[in-house]
Amino acid sequence: MTPSAFWQQVRWVFTKDLRVEVRGGVTLRMATPFAALALLLAPLATGTDTALLRRIGPGMLWLVVILFGMTVTLRSGAREPGPVRDLLTLSGLDPAAGFLGRSLASAVLLFGVTLVLTPLMIVLYAPEGRPGWGWLALLAVAGVMALGLLGSLVATLVTGLRERTALGPLLAIPLAVPVLLATARGTDSAISQQGSLSWLLLLVAMNLALVIVGVLLAGPMDETTR
């Protein structure tokens, strides 16, 4: 397959997944409002200790994004029932292109979630902060891309297993801990007007590693989980 044909397939899967997700409305109608509610409730539980809220805010933001985001990204693998997977295979879809397309679609959806949640976190947890919005945006892009890749990878691994609904999050969330650390620390630095370059580079390295592992595993996993 030529590189051009490969990237056309990536774009095809990306467009199709986004369309299906927007029509289904799970991210817009369920995950985002519940994630926002979770961010709203935490300050009520901890009280008005502004120093404490300022400390936990970045961690809470990314914890919520990961917990609710994983439900979105893991759906991408579970969404395709057997007959549709067969159709895609017989249509010549390269499993690696499918993996990248699904990951990108999940990342875009999660970026939408962070667009809502990040300003909410600033208002609720660090209203006096002067965030570096550029750093926050870069961290969000790198963070959601890593989560999209991780979610698609785990969804591929558990496809075909009877216990995939429970196994998916149990496998994905521990693997997302490095992403949680990097995004939360990086966001903390950005809110404090410090550079977040080292955290950003760490996320970029994670993304590269996940792309390599995902692309290499996509084909064999697609064959063995059929």
Binding site: W12, T89, L90, G92
Partner: protein, 217 residues
């Protein structure tokens, strides 16, 4: 064109989760043939179709499908898979997408936009904007047939193609089968509907407890 059969399976077996589903299957399908498969539920008919589609690999024995070894690497099977169509027992549709999108999207992946309006040809032009989730089984089946009007596979595999179809739609199956065989392709069809499928077949096979035998015409 090659004299090689489109399908040649030799002593093929398939097991999954410790259960033997198919054993000792020998099967040749030549260009122009329409092979019917019957047998009781759970006998292994659908597994046989998925083996022919190269979606499953034999766990014993081997052979070729469209000239490529059934145990070939996935990257070597891509070219062959693109010449195979499988219309399974359960429709391969995205429920959130419209009927038109369910025709056009896979076409974009395989060969580009379809010429004309395949949905009109299967009598669904008036409901092209309906979500697949809201369509009846018969309408979903017609959508799958509409996809097949946009291109012609060399090997067409049908699993109960008449299920859910009304009388008016039944000739669609005949039309699709004829398109394939007219272009030196072959059709393998699982069907319990002897009245509708029987007249199409050039040969009958029976699958019983995982073994395949020639059945009387």
């Amino acid at each position: 064109m090659s004299d090689q059969p489109l399908v040649r399976l030799v002593d093929v077996g398939f097991s999954a989760s410790g259960s033997v589903i198919l054993r000792g299957v020998g099967l040749m399908v030549e260009a122009g043939e329409i092979v019917g498969i019957s047998g009781p539920n759970g006998a292994g008919k659908t597994t046989l179709l998925r083996l022919l589609a190269t979606l499953l690999r034999p766990t014993s024995g081997g052979g070729t499908v469209l000239g490529v070894d059934t145990g070939a690497r996935p990257q070597d099977l891509v070219r062959v898979r693109r010449q195979i169509a499988l219309v399974g027992h359960f429709p391969a549709l995205w429920p959130e997408l419209t009927l038109r999108e369910n025709v056009n999207l896979p076409a974009g992946l395989r060969h580009g936009p379809a010429d004309g309006d395949p949905l009109r040809a299967v009598g669904l032009a008036g409901v092209a904007g309906l979500k697949a989730a809201h369509a009846s089984l018969g309408m979903q089946r017609r959508v799958e047939f509409a996809r097949l009007l946009a291109w012609t596979p060399r090997l067409l595999l049908l699993d109960e193609p008449h299920a859910g179809l009304d009388e008016a739609a039944a000739p669609l199956v005949d039309h699709l089968v004829a398109r394939v065989t007219d272009r030196d392709g072959a059709v393998v069809m699982v069907s319990h509907d002897r009245n509708r499928a029987g007249s199409l077949l050039t040969r009958r096979l029976s699958v019983t407890a995982g073994t395949v035998v020639e059945a009387p015409a």
